[in-house]
């Protein structure tokens, strides 16, 4: 055991002795890993928020179906739906988009009593009266809105609203460009007071299939679409896996360009190292001990590079809101997002990154070291 400790300590000393090489290899590892860890963490953060939102939503989602896409559902069925056995509540929503001057905002119309528990205002309150709205942090910052200000929006018709509350910057990406208002106001804004974009049905556990049967009886011959929470969750997960996959694939291509840099950097000072290995062999080191030392060196340098890459990723997300990378995962955001980018740092991507860095540095050094250590010491020392 003391031999391995000696070799580990010597490896760490060698990293300090060969500072330039250590710094160059570390920089290569950081340049390659940091964007990757950042992207995966953002993706995981957004996915976690999405799943939390889905978790808070209804057990069943009812829409109509037109041309194979979701279409508004008439409110005339709402009373019957609420009377189905097993339905705890049925909440109609309007989710749409409208321009606030030149900026696209997401409009959510929902009755006040059904506002999700997680929705919180950093300042002000939730709307109570007609034409009152709560706005997202990015919109508020962009238009310098304050509580009590008025804003005018055009959907199917122009309406003037009063800002009564503002979301905090850390209340999730969904709220950054959001305008939250009553269901009635949203219906009026879009000129569709008799429909909802969907109805969320909250059910007593175990009653979904019976509710589906009753809905069939109510909506018979109507083109409706019923999805349960698990399907939505599945779509969310699948969507993000796809995005992560596409990002990883694109990244691997860029990555391939960086690999030679690491390989070259790992092999820096090869002739000096070869002679050193020859001396080690001549003074009683065996090949396994030489390779163990080299492995420890690469292990330490990879760990150091990956740890710095992780710290930089945290800084990238927390300090610069995932600039340049967030855009890949959140449509219509800017290169330098003004809201707090959601993130989740999982151990697996970090470990994979570390192992990848380790593998690369090993490839760059282990073969040449093995060659040098299996040659006769006389040849290696030349």
């Amino acid at each position: 055991m003391s031999k391995h400790i000696n070799l580990l300590l010597l490896a760490s000393e060698n990293l300090l002795r060969h500072r330039t090489k250590t710094i160059v290899v570390c920089l290569c590892i950081i340049a390659i890993l940091s964007p990757f860890i950042t992207a995966i963490s953002i993706s995981e953060g957004i996915r976690a928020q999405s799943l939390a939102s889905v978790g808070e939503g209804g057990d069943l989602y009812l829409t109509f179906d037109e041309f194979g896409r979701n279409a508004p559902v008439p409110l005339e069925y709402l009373g019957e739906i609420r009377n189905i056995f097993g339905v705890k509540k049925a909440v109609p929503r309007i989710i749409g988009r409208a321009y606030l001057q030149n900026k696209l905002a997401v409009i959510v119309g929902i009755d006040k009593e059904y506002v999700p528990v997680s929705v919180s205002c950093v300042s002000g309150k939730i709307f109570e009266k007609p034409d009152e709205v709560v706005v997202g942090s990015e919109l508020a910052r962009h238009f310098r809105l304050n509580i009590g200000d008025q804003l005018s929006m055009r959907g199917q018709q122009r309406k003037v609203f009063t800002v009564v509350g503002m979301f905090s910057a850390d209340s999730g990406i969904w709220s950054s460009s959001l305008i939250f208002m009553s269901f009635k106001d949203a219906g009026e804004l879009f000129g569709k007071p008799e429909v909802a974009t969907d109805i969320q049905i909250y059910s007593i556990p175990g009653h979904n299939s019976e509710i589906a049967t009753d809905l069939y009886n109510i909506l018979m011959n109507k083109p409706y679409r019923l999805q349960d929470k698990h399907i939505i969750e599945l779509f969310v997960k699948k969507g993000f896996l796809l995005k992560e996959g596409v990002f990883t694939a694109l990244y691997v291509v860029a990555f391939a360009l960086g690999i030679p840099a690491i390989l070259v950097a790992s092999g820096f000072g090869l002739s000096e190292r070869k002679k050193e290995i020859g001396i080690m062999k001549a003074t009683g080191w065996n090949t396994l001990e030489v390779l163990e030392l080299i492995t420890f060196e690469q292990l330490l340098i990879s760990l150091l590079g990956a740890a710095i890459a992780l710290l930089l990723s945290i800084l990238w997300i927390k300090g610069f809101n995932g600039a340049f990378i967030g855009q890949f995962f959140i449509a219509e955001t800017t290169l330098l997002p003004k809201f707090n980018m959601p993130s989740k740092f999982l151990p697996l991507p970090f470990l994979l990154s570390f192992f990848f860095a380790f593998l690369l540095t090993m490839v760059g050094s282990i073969y040449s070291s093995w060659r040098a250590s299996t040659e006769s010491p006389v040849v290696a020392m030349k």
């Binding site: 003391s2 031999k3 002795r17 060969h18 003074t283 396994l288 006769s376």
Partner: protein
């Protein structure tokens, strides 16, 4: 103790640059003897030393150390043998440039699992013997040729080897240091080590128990 039978070493075999560095050498070196190999440059002294010292393998022939045929040893077994029994002093010192004097001396002890404190103590005592107590933390480039050679001698002695092999040890150092080196090797011999030196230096003849003269890869 050391026996070589019909040793041959050929470089670039079956090419037009084929060189027979060592030809059919038979040699026996008794334990605790001081042996000098003489001969002009290119006569095969270094090649023979490298083979006896297990740094190189012969093309044909056998070497026995303490009755064991080391030419059949694996790479790891040879390393173990070098670690336990052999210390080298090279003509061009072969110190590791980035390491300090004491680190170079104690380097062979690292894979033996000897803790840092003990490695330092052993290196320190040897360097003091070599009059380098005040140069322990200097790197090779901060030392003169003679001082580097003494560091290399200390390194060769650090694992208390039974055999010390020195290749032209005085060729890169001054007169005074050469005499000190000669005395050091003589002292090691008196402490029980077997000393094998390849040299042109005639002063070694006076203390050698046996002298072999080489020419064109053979003993004359």
């Amino acid at each position: 103790m050391i026996r070589a039978e019909r040793l041959c070493k050929t470089y670039g075999a079956h090419t037009k640059h084929e060189i027979h560095a060592v030809k059919e050498i038979n040699l026996t070196i008794a334990k605790n003897s001081f042996v000098v190999l003489k001969g002009p440059s290119g006569s095969g002294k270094t090649t023979l030393l490298n083979i006896i010292g297990t740094l190189d393998r012969p093309t044909t022939g056998n070497v026995y150390i303490d009755g064991e045929e080391i030419t059949a040893f694996s790479d790891i077994a040879l390393s173990v043998l070098r670690r336990k029994k052999i210390g080298f002093i090279f003509q061009d010192f072969n110190l590791i440039p980035r390491l300090s004097g004491w680190e170079n001396v104690s380097y062979p002890l690292i894979p033996m699992g000897i803790p840092l404190k003990e490695r330092f103590t052993r290196a320190q005592s040897l360097l003091k013997i070599m009059d380098l107590g005040d140069r322990m933390t200097h790197t090779p480039e901060e030392l003169s040729g003679g001082q580097q050679q003494r560091v290399a001698i200390a390194r060769a002695m650090v694992n208390n080897p039974e055999i010390i092999i020195a290749d032209e040890p005085t060729s890169n150092i001054d007169e005074e240091t050469s005499i000190k080196l000669l005395n050091t090797l003589n002292e090691l011999k008196h402490k029980g080590a077997t000393i094998i030196v390849a040299t042109h230096d005639p002063r070694f003849n006076k203390i050698a128990d046996e002298t072999f003269t080489m020419k064109d890869g053979r003993f004359q």
